[in-house]
Amino acid sequence: MQLTGAQALIRSLEQEGVDTIFGLPGGAILPVYDPLLDSSIRHILVRHEQGAGHMAEGYALATGRPGVAMVTSGPGATNIVTPIGNAHMDSTPLVVITGQVATASIGTDAFQECDITGITMGITKHNFLVQSAQEIPRAVAAAFHLATTGRPGPVLIDVPKDVTQSMMDWWYPASIEEYDLPGYRPEVALDQEAVARAVALIGESERPVLYVGGGTLKSRAAGELLAFAERTGMPVVTTLMARGAFPDSHDQHLGMPGMHGMYTAVTAIQKSDLLISLGARFDDRVTGKIPTFAAGAKVIHVDIDKAEFNKVRHADVAILGNVAAVLTAFDAAQATPRNLDVWWKTINDWRDQYPLVYDEPATDGPLRPQHVIEAIAAKAAPGTIVASGVGQHQMWASQHWKFEEPGTWINSGGAGTMGFGVPAAIGAKVGRPDRTVWCIDGDGCFQMTAQELTTARSEGIPIKVAILNNAYLGMVRQWQEMFYEERYSEVYLSADLPDYVKWAEAMGCVGLRARTLKEMYEVIDEANTINDVPVVIDFRTDADEKVFPMVAAGASNDDILVHPLQRGERR
């Protein structure tokens, strides 16, 4: 059967089970948009290519399936570089298709030409410049294989216009052997000797901590984690990338570690004698000052990417493999620590002494951002998905929302991409239309990508957006207050400019505002009754609120700063 390259591209995406493409057409990708009309694949027309990328990420994080975005060459391609970089940092499976100028024009500085494979070389797991229409099926099949296996990540396929316009004989690779990836071997046999050494270390430990990272979610190991944790009785911490991998309601869960982690989670790691890292990468936001990080702990490092071993922290035992398989092997070997009663007594003392606290909300406002999040959570349906931007609101959302299952927390971890929230929430809602999706956003973040609410309205994607509007770039303000003697430099945004309610309405959404406690409860209830269009709520919050606990950048986790209400009580 003869097809155009464009038809073959769409058909290849159908072969991979793609149900949604987030994209925006332009000259070089134009041929591909024609057969899209005849395809069952849903296309979400974004207002900016960055939105397409973040939506694809939100879709992937909520569903566990690869997100797909398609844009044109030149500026279309460069506009999606930020989401690609973001997905690379967070190991999110993404397939991004970019149009390219015709093969003969490549290298001539043609209109809307840019070397997108060169630009994204360092921020993709791999990328392809497709040279002929006949090669399109192989490139697509290989891209999905690469994006979703091993350590997942973004893969970019750059397709010149003449390639999509020329004819090919339809075929599709029947097996991995036909992908032509001789250097790619994501599957590894578990090193049983390493497993045995890990089991021995576990057997000697009296103060173990399960340090759970995003790799646990990527390897769909939440079930194995729960079983292992309950059998061994070990305390669990979940990093920003792993929220939802272990139920927050579970008594063994100490919460999030790191710069704004729970006091108990941070301190338990510091005092542990064995750290079992499950798909985590010892990020600087978790470790603080590295030489003093969990200084007395031995480390069992479980990861699918061997380049993570000994990158930051020496691993006493490194086990290459998928978290689920390794936990199953630990269970098969009946890996069991010593009696943990004394350890739990210590941990529970910390928990009693340093719970998560914030100042009493004032009836007339301004609102406490933490309280707003808890009030939304209190009225949210079970299984609600929460997306966020980056900054104070992100930390508060991670701290104060209770996550119970995988795929319910959508955020930008490694890259820290402001503006991630709104489009990621849209993508999550597209992937999980059965779930309520809240975006907890900041006023700074919201202004970066809010135009995608027009997309949400026109495509019928009813997300709910809570802007914690403190009129500032809050996290930067917090640092300027704490570390730059309150010399506030370029962080003021104004609470009233733009008018968020009018802006929401202009985009076809419902716009609401809350300044007092009474209004806060009312607008949350009202938002929960609206399920046909997006809702945006402008919550006026206190600009002086800071995120605590906090470990200052470069400081030791031993010097964690608790909330002012708790100071002076430290032992």
Binding site: G118, G122, D305, N310
Partner: protein, 174 residues
């Protein structure tokens, strides 16, 4: 240009230099992927040699001499192995490798140093591959150490133009 004098093979090679013999797919941009990886991770390349390898040019062999003090070798190998186009990596400690390098040098043949220069060339085992009215080009294919020695010997003479290929290596046969 080399950042510092080459100290030769086996005993004289500083421990911090490691040889990676890397089999890669012979595809457009592979060298850029390797170079880009080294640049963004802050790994130093001391020398690099690339040429098509076996299998009808489906693969190329890249011999990279890396500075293992710029980053742990485990990190360099681990990150390199993640490049999809990298098929196999052999980490060759200098004592376990057979290494060769090619040196070309154009030398002025003025009367003053003519005999000393010819003596140096002969002693090094280099051969004359091109002859002009006032200069000759000589070639030495040998161990990096032999190339070092010739390079040092030629430092005594003025106006020498010298090129080295960087080494290629294969595992020593047991």
């Amino acid at each position: 240009m080399s950042p510092e004098p080459y100290l030769g093979e086996v005993s004289r090679t500083p421990v911090r230099h490691h040889i990676l013999s890397v089999l890669v797919e012979n595809k457009a941009g592979v060298l850029a992927r390797i170079a880009g990886l080294f640049a963004r991770r802050g790994f130093n390349i001391y020398s690099l040699a690339v040429a098509p390898a076996e299998s009808h040019a489906r693969f190329s062999r890249v011999t990279i001499v890396v500075d293992a003090e710029s980053a742990p070798l485990e990190q360099i190998v681990g990150q390199l192995d993640k490049l999809v186009n990298v098929v196999a990596i052999h980490d060759l400690a200098p004592r376990d490798a057979v290494e060769r390098e090619l040196l070309l040098a154009t030398l002025p043949l003025g009367d003053a140093h003519r005999s000393a220069m010819l003596d140096t060339i002969t002693k090094a085992g280099a051969s004359i591959v091109d002859v002009g009215p006032t200069s000759v080009t000589v070639m030495l294919a040998g161990t990096p150490g032999a190339c070092d020695e010739l390079e040092r010997a030629l430092e005594d003479f003025a106006e020498v133009e010298l090129h080295r290929t960087g080494r290629v290596a294969l595992p020593r046969l047991d």
